[in-house]
Amino acid sequence: MTNAYSVAHFLAGVMLVCSFTLLYQDRIFAVLNTFAAQAMMLSLAVAWQGYVQNSPDLFITAAIAFGLKGIVIPFVLNRMIVRLGIHRDVDQVVNVGVAMFLGLGLTCLALLLVLRVTPGAASFTREGLALALAIILLGFLQMITRRNAVTQIVGFMSIENGLILAATGARGMPLVVEVSVAFSVLIALFVFAVFVFRIRESFDSVDIESLERVRGMQQ
């Protein structure tokens, strides 16, 4: 059983490393590749949970994560970026060092918080949950520190990765929820895709800053 722990933790740990990499990557294609790597790690982690918990339905979730988030979505975004001609570097709101320190702080916060309140739960679950929360918080940080619509999409999807990791780590959580997460990703992609094209229509740029330029007129 200790092996099961260490493999699960290893995979979740690699996902967390991917989250940190997402924080400092400043080339848009590198961001997509890192995200794809994280999604593939997620599918491995989910498949491992399916094997350990002896619940084959998790393999479906793993397959969805692998096919959709590991291959299809990065590919589509890649195509979109090439077609829109926006494959330049990504602007950061704060510099890399600050972002990394903030990320470290959030990770510590997640670990301390979850480990402190869950002394009763199985260590398998609680440590997985702590790592998942860290990935979610890093996803938020990425959404905040990036100015670019595509990197915000990636930030959002890495949050979803953390959520799926947490959901599958909780033993026996009904499949309806996992399907719903996959489903919400689909809808989200649809919404995002529509937006990216509409923003492009109106601004010739997917830079969020150009959206904020119109803010002076409101109130």
Partner: protein, 478 residues
């Protein structure tokens, strides 16, 4: 017989599929009204059936009136929506292509909200609420102007944050339930969780509640997670503003109340009261102060929604039979009144061709009937008698005075500040020389009249059956 409960979810989703296949916006508008009317009839029929507790759906004292309210406002808004969209197409603000799926999405959103209200499974409740939210995100961006897109984008990004946090909270709640109820769907079933609530792990459910409060609180529009709300209300089509303020905020708060009940049933868990009191008061006072600087009429009433959701959250935070009673009553009154206001505002904005407060003047001269409706609904939302909101606000204030006089002062301050701002704006809109240009609006004013009469009747005489229901629901909330 109990299968009837599925109708309020089934009709909207079926209608959504059918409406999505019909290209003409005139036909889909009629279909939308028909489907909403059927759903409302199904909702009303719930009064005749006994409480239902099944694995995935529940019908108890708490949600039955929310479902009826939801289907009623959905129905009246669909009536308003038909005329509104037609006018927008005639004036060229929208094209038939851009509203191709509008009515289908409206039904899908209603179905999602009804699902969230009816769900006995906390995961299903989340799915319903998030589905409804995503539908409204698309509809907020329907005008495709830069500002509409910005509003939709902001709504989406903040919505995502809320979605994720609420889902994480749901997972933690499942973990707490799993330790007691075992693996599987039982640990996500609300009615099972409430039975075993005292045995749940206290720190775990406290942590879960914090995530749920921030997550669903984003949807409720509580300060400081409110930033999406004014933009989404102002830039989206007015029928959507009406359902956002009147329904979606309510449904999100309802979800939060379900979890508050679970926490209240556990003596060792975090007390949600003080947190909800603080967050509610901050929302109330912040929004009341912000009312003074608004230049856009829909943005003004969006801030008023934040103010009222703050007041309601405060009331539930105070807890106890009377404050809970008042909170529930105020949810119903606010929902009816605020959607009435948006119906009136929608007509006024179309009549004057603008949403800028400075350009909407002299309504009492140019559109007397509309001015009367708007004035009545603004008076109602300000909490003046004889309308229903007076009773609920009065109850909240007197109950708070009896228990925490200092907090009551803060509430009164917030309400008075908001009252002043609304009156000031209303005066400018109603009186003075009418601004040009003036268009004729021949949209149906029936929804406005229905809502106002309901609020008026509730303010003068609340039927004993309703009082009894409110009391039972308030008792459940603890």
């Amino acid at each position: 017989m109990n299968q009837a409960v599925y109708a309020v979810v089934g009709i909207p989703f079926l209608a959504a599929i059918v409406l999505a296949l019909i290209p003409s916006y005139r036909i889909t508008a009629i279909g939308n009204v028909l489907a909403s009317g059927l759903t409302f009839a199904a909702g009303l029929s719930f009064l005749a059936i006994p409480p239902v507790v099944q694995n995935y759906v529940i019908l108890d004292d708490l949600n039955i009136f929310f479902i009826i309210l939801n289907t009623l406002v959905g129905f009246t808004t669909s009536v308003f929506s038909g005329g509104y969209i037609e006018h927008e197409i005639e004036t060229g603000h929208l094209t038939p292509q851009s509203v191709r799926f509008y009515h289908a999405m409206f039904q899908a959103m209603m179905g999602g909200m009804n699902l969230a209200l009816l769900a006995n499974n906390i995961g299903l409740m989340w799915v319903g609420l998030e589905f409804a939210t995503l539908m409204t995100v698309i509809m907020v961006g329907i005008y495709r102007t830069t500002r509409a897109l910005e509003a939709a984008w902001k709504y989406f990004i903040l919505g995502i944050v809320g979605i994720s946090l609420a889902f994480f909270g749901t997972i933690i709640f499942y973990l707490a339930g799993q330790a007691v109820l075992g693996e599987g769907a039982a640990a996500m079933t609300w009615s099972r969780l409430i039975e075993v609530a005292p045995q749940l792990d206290a720190p775990l459910i406290s942590l879960a509640f914090i995530f749920l409060l921030v997550g669903y609180g984003t949807k409720v529009g509580l300060v400081p997670m409110h930033a999406w709300l004014p933009d989404a209300h102002a830039e989206g089509p007015t029928p959507i503003s009406a359902v956002l303020s009147g329904l979606l905020l309510n449904v999100a708060l309802f979800a939060l109340l379900r979890f508050k009940m679970l926490l209240a049933a556990h003596p060792g868990a975090l007390k949600p009261g003080p947190i909800m009191i603080i967050i509610g008061l901050v929302s109330l006072i912040f929004a009341a102060l912000m009312l003074y600087q608004r230049r856009d009429i829909k943005r003004l009433f969006a801030y008023s929604s934040i103010e009222h959701m703050g007041l309601i959250t405060f009331a539930f935070g105070m807890g106890g039979p009377i404050a809970n009673f008042a909170g529930l009553l105020h949810m119903v009154m606010h929902s009816l009144t605020k959607s009435a206001i948006f119906f009136a505002v929608g007509h006024a904005a179309q009549a004057k061709g603008t949403q800028r407060l400075a350009d909407i003047r002299g309504l009492s001269v140019s559109h007397p009937a509309l001015a009367f409706g708007l004035a009545a609904s603004v008076i109602a939302i300000s909490g003046l008698p004889p309308f229903g909101a007076f009773m609920s606000e009065f109850l909240i204030i007197t109950n708070t005075f009896a228990r925490e006089p200092l907090l009551a002062l803060a509430v009164v301050f917030g309400l008075l500040v908001a009252f002043g701002a609304l009156l000031l704006r209303l005066q400018n809109v109603l009186f003075g020389a009418p601004t040009e240009p003036t268009h004729s609006v021949n949209a149906s004013s029936a929804p406005l009249i229905v809502h106002l009469s309901l609020v008026l009747v509730a303010g003068i005489y609340l039927p004993a059956a309703m009082v009894a229901w409110f009391q039972r629901a308030a008792e459940m909330l603890g």
